[in-house]
Every structure is written in C-alpha cells, then in structure tokens.
C-alpha cells in the first residue's frame, strides 16, 4: 500500500519540476486523447481544473484564484474578464494557425479584433425532442411555438422542460416574439414574461441538468436545451436501445449561440505554453476530437474533414448560412437590468 503512494509522491515531485500548463476548463470539454497528444508534443503536463458555469468561474476568479494559464469562458464572460483587465493580450505571431477559424466566429462584439480570445467551440440553445413521440403527435418542431403555444403544449402537458436560466429562457421568448435576444426594453421583457407564464402550466419543470436523463428515459419529450446536452441524450438513448432518437432543431425564429473561447489569464505563469496550446487546438484534428466527443459546434474550418459525417451533416451542430445569421450571442446585462430581470424571473416562478 505504501509503495505506490511513495511512487506517486516521487512522480508528483518530478512533474512539478517539469513544465506545467494550468487549464481552467468546462467539465468534459476536451478529449483525453487530445490532452495526451499535447503532453507528448510539448513534453509538459496539463493540469485541468473544472467549472460548470461561467458565473462559478467568474466568482472563483473574483475570490482570488490565480495560476490559470488558460480559461475557456463564454462570450459574455470574456467581455467581463476583458473589462476587469484580467486577461493577457494574445501574441498572434505565436498563433500561425489562427486562420483555420471560420471568419464568422472572429471579431465578435465581446472581443473586437480578437485581441484576447480564440474561438474554441460553440453551443446552441435550441429545441430537442423525442423523434417518435413528436412525429406521433404531429407537432411542428421548426419553431419556438412548440415550446410556447398552448395549442401544441396541450398534447405535451407535463412532457416539456425548459432551461432554468433567466437569460436563456427570456432569449427564447424574445426570439419567438420577434425581438432580439439582447433586447433590454422592459415592455418587451414583460411581453416575454406573459408568454412564458401562459405556457408554464404545461411545462413539467425548469431544468438545467437532469433533462438529459429524462429525455433518454422517455419521460420528457420536448426540451428547450443546449445542443451538446441533446447530443448526449441521443447517444445515451441509442446505447440503451430505446427505439427512438433525440433530435435537435434550430427554430426558424433564431436561437442563442454561446461561443466559448480560449483566453490567457493574467495570473498564468506560462503564457508561452498557453500560446502553444492554443495553436495546437487550432489544428483541425485536435479541434475535431471535441466535436466527436460531445457534439459541440466547431468554428474551425480545418476540423470539418475529421468530424464524423453524422455530426458534420447535422444542421443543429453546423447550421447553414441562412440559419447562422439568425443566431445571436448573449451580451452581459448591467446591474439594474440584472435586478429587473431577476424580479421578472421571480414573478414567472410564482405565477
């Protein structure tokens, strides 16, 4: 029993002396194969720390966590970190493969000119459904109407979940009403609130985690959820031989796109390794591995050739040009807007 521990201690001691890259990443957001390949290539070690939402990551950094070379936040969190002056500007001379990225995902509103961030992967917030059940019920799935209109929901009572997220649900409702997902006019928010309150009696729950399982098991038939979660539910349903598929669809009114980007935190001791890692992840093969693992959207044009055809042809992972223009990234709200939205959310929950 003692010998392996000693060995482990020796190993840790040895590794600390070597080069270490500290990566602060989402849970399950990089393939082990990719990590192992980078480690052999750079003769260094990658130490990962995980978070499950942006707020958690921001809170941890705000509380003084340091030593992270690389973080992979979503757009609005990048914006937040930029304004806090917490990021190190990129040295693009060290990133020769940057032109692999689809220009549609560069020069975003949260980081004009990509001074700080390199796109990593994206997720869409869309509709996911049980193929067999919805075909049976003959409900159109190309619109948010399926989530919000009582005439459809009547057939789905108690079989629908929506995300337990103020911004995401509001964005879906705003989109359905024909507004921008980033609309901040209070009258429009109230319209969205009324739409949600009207649909709410038909929904089973506000849910941001267990809906994957509920979809797989067949308890829930229609969700407002993240594309990667719906992908996961589909894989699970296939593995369990459920006899139905879980399919994702982008509503024609548009949806929210969350672009996660690699950024260098100021406290990171190894910007050199971090740049190497970013350039490594810009290689198509490495970028593709994540998409093949979790079904995430991939902004890397060179990666397409390595992606499994079924995923590459899935319009909910790689939307076509007409759908792409209807996707919006969420911008951060100011403190007053946050408070007003929180009250509207409380009203939604209580009504």
């Amino acid at each position: 029993m003692i010998r392996p521990i000693l060995f482990l201690l020796l190993f840790i001691g040895h590794a600390q002396a070597a080069d270490v890259l500290h990566l602060y990443n989402w849970n399950n957001y990089i393939s082990d194969v990719t990590i192992a390949r980078f480690e052999t290539q750079c003769a260094c070690r990658v130490v990962q720390d995980y978070y499950s939402d942006n707020e958690e990551m921001l809170a941890k950094l705000a509380a003084g966590a340091t030593g992270y070379d690389l973080i992979v936040p979503t757009g609005n969190a990048v914006e937040s970190l930029v304004r806090q002056r917490a990021l190190r500007p990129l040295d693009k001379s060290q990133l020769p493969k940057l032109n692999n990225i689809d220009p549609a995902y560069l020069n975003t509103a949260f980081d004009p000119g990509n001074k700080y961030s390199v796109p990593y992967a994206y997720t869409l917030t869309l509709i996911g459904y049980n193929s067999a059940r919805l075909r049976e019920l003959n409900i159109p799935v190309d619109s948010w109407a399926a989530i919000f209109e009582p005439r459809h929901l009547e057939k789905l009572k108690g079989r629908v979940t929506v995300l337990d997220s103020q911004r995401e649900l509001l964005a879906a409702a705003l989109k359905y009403l024909g507004y921008s997902a980033n609309d901040t006019i209070e009258a429009h928010w109230k319209q969205a609130r009324d739409l949600i309150v009207r649909a709410k009696p038909y929904w089973a729950a506000f849910n941001a985690s267990s809906y994957i399982k509920e979809l797989t098991v067949g308890n829930i038939w229609l969700v407002h959820g993240y594309s990667s979660d719906i992908f996961q539910a589909d894989i699970d349903a296939q593995n369990a031989q459920r006899g139905f598929r879980i399919v994702a669809a982008i509503p024609k009114e548009g949806a929210v796109l969350a672009l996660d980007s690699m950024v260098l935190h100021k406290s990171g001791p190894r910007p050199d390794l971090a740049h190497r890692f970013i350039d490594f992840m810009l290689e198509g093969r490495n970028a593709a591995e994540l998409t093949n693992l979790i079904g995430s959207g991939n902004p890397n044009l060179d990666a397409r050739q390595y992606i499994q055809p079924e995923i590459a042809q899935n319009p909910a992972v790689f939307p076509d040009k007409t759908q792409q223009v209807k996707l919006e990234m969420l911008r951060d709200l100011d403190r007053h807007q946050r408070r007003v939205l929180s009250r509207i959310w409380t009203e939604i929950k209580l009504r």
Binding site: E55, W203, A204, R335, R339, R343, T346, K349
Partner: protein
C-alpha cells in the same frame, strides 16, 4: 476568605476554557458573517459580482451606501409572497415530520433497552449515504415510469380521473423535505421521551386516566421541549433549503433559498441577496419568538 476568592477564579478559568471554543466559533462563523451580510446589504452591487467600492477615486463609478435593496424588496409584493410560501412549506414539513416522528419516537422509547440503540441507528442510517443520492432516488421513485406512479395513475384511471405527475411538483418537494429532515425530529423527541418516568403514567392510571388521557395530560406536555427542539431543527433548515426545490420542484416551486442563491450566482447581486438573507433571519427569529411566547402561555401542565 482566601479560599472563597481562589475557587471562583479557578471556576471562572474553567468556564472560559470550556466556553471559549464555542464562543470563538460563534463569533467567527456566526456573528462575523452576519455582520458582513448586514453591511453588504447597504452597498451597491459590483459590475462583476461582489460589491461596488465604498469609496472610489473616479466619481463616475458607483460607490457608497444605500437603502435601495430594501426599497426594492418592499416595492413589490412578489418577494413577500416567496417568503410566505416558503414559511408555509416549512410549516407543512415540520407538521408532517412531527406527526410521523412522534409515534416512532414513542415506540423506540417504549421498546426494551437492548433494541433501542439499534432502532436509533436505523433512524440515522439515511445519513450514511449522501443526501443528494437520496434525492435522486426520489426522482426515480416518483418518476412517471415508476411502479408507484403507474399504480396510482392506474387507480385514478379506474375512477376516470386524469393521470397526475408526481415528480416535479410541490408534492415531490414536500416528500423529499420530510425525507431529509425526519431524523432531526425523531432524535430530540426520542431523547426527551426516553427520560419520562414510567411511574407518572402508572400514577395517572391509578387515578383513573384512560390511555388517551395519559398521553394527552402527561406524556404530551412533558415532551414539549422535545417537540420544540425537533421543530426548530426541521423548520429552520427547510427555510433555507434550495437543492430540493431545484431538483424535484416543478415550474412554480421557488422557495426563498432558491431566490437567495440566485442573487449570488445568477444575478450577481450580492447586496440584494444579503438583504433577503437578513430579512429571512429576522422572519425566523420572529417566528421562534412568537412560538416560544405562545408555547410558554399554554405549556403549564405537568
């Protein structure tokens, strides 16, 4: 004389030694955070979470102290509504726990001494597995494909009633709240009931009291401290609970715990979150004070 002065000083030292650690604990982990919460509630929220600075060099930045969170709370009934709803939920949980725990505690207290320890062990057995695992188990038990749901809905169907969803409902929340807090009611009740002198019951019987009278006039009044302790141990944590409504609740099951958590994590509004926490504490203290006063008036039996 000399003796009299040394003994108190020695006892005083022991008193300090004994009460020191709990006092330190209370100061560091209850009083200090409480003060910080109070102070935070009068500040402006920071742009990235946290608090806006008290004084900033740039007059443009938000700074200083304010009453705006309190004004915001009282500007709308909605938050009071959440409080009332949570209070009712906590009250219901406490009552159900009491009704379920009392007979059980009585049973354990009246069993032979040998088996009592085993029975108490069985009561605390759920604590050996993680609380969240228990909650996830309830998700399976109450899910639409569970035997329970199918049986219930089969019966309802016979009477021509539409099927019900057990999971993601206030019912599911209540069930899990009772499940998670029942041992906290059983244990104080048991420790109280165990100490009752059986001679009192014998005396009551000799004086012609029937079983119900013996319970209602002797056992129940004597067990009031246990009831109070158990109720407090259930009522107060339930008010702060946010995990259960989040996992098992439906579209309307927001309790004040969820509201507070959301201010800190989702909305990044620490001052308002602090205000809600303080008002919750005030509400709890008020209720406990009221309960003690009412209990004090009625509880002069044995």
């Amino acid at each position: 004389m000399g003796n009299k002065t040394t003994i108190p000083s020695a006892t005083r030292l022991t008193k300090w030694l004994v009460s020191g650690p709990p006092l330190l604990f209370l100061l560091l982990l209850v009083a200090a955070p409480g003060m910080i919460t109070v102070l935070a509630s009068f500040r402006y929220p920071g742009e990235f979470g946290g608090l806006a600075p008290l004084v900033a060099a740039d007059p443009q930045t938000l700074q200083g102290v304010t009453l705006e969170t309190y004004r915001f709370f009282f500007s709308d009934f909605i938050y009071a509504e959440v409080f009332v709803k949570s209070l009712f939920m906590a009250l219901a949980t406490t009552l159900i726990c009491l009704l379920m725990a009392y007979p059980l505690a009585l049973l354990i207290a009246h069993s032979p001494k040998k088996s009592r320890n085993l029975m108490v062990l069985l009561v605390v057995l759920p604590f050996t597995s993680n609380f969240l695992i228990g909650i996830y188990a309830w998700m399976i038990i109450l899910g639409p494909q569970s035997a329970l749901s199918q049986m219930l809905n089969g019966m309802l169907h016979l009477f021509g009633i539409a099927p019900v969803h057990l999971l993601f409902s206030p019912f599911a929340v209540l069930v899990a709240l009772v499940y998670a807090h029942l041992p906290f009611m059983v244990l104080p009740l048991y420790t109280n009931l165990e100490k009752h002198d059986p001679a009192l019951l014998d005396a009551a019987q000799d004086l012609g009291a029937n079983a119900w009278q013996r319970f209602w006039r002797v056992t129940f009044p004597l067990s009031q401290p246990g009831i109070f302790a158990g109720s407090a141990l259930v009522f107060i944590p339930v008010l702060g609970m946010f995990a259960i409504p989040e996992l098992l609740g439906g579209t309307g099951d927001m309790l004040v715990g969820n509201l507070i958590k959301e201010q800190f994590l989702g909305t990044r509004d620490w001052p308002f979150g602090s205000t809600l926490s303080i008002l919750l504490t005030v509400a709890v203290l008020l209720i406990v004070w009221l309960a003690v006063r009412l209990g004090g008036r009625g509880g002069r039996y044995a």
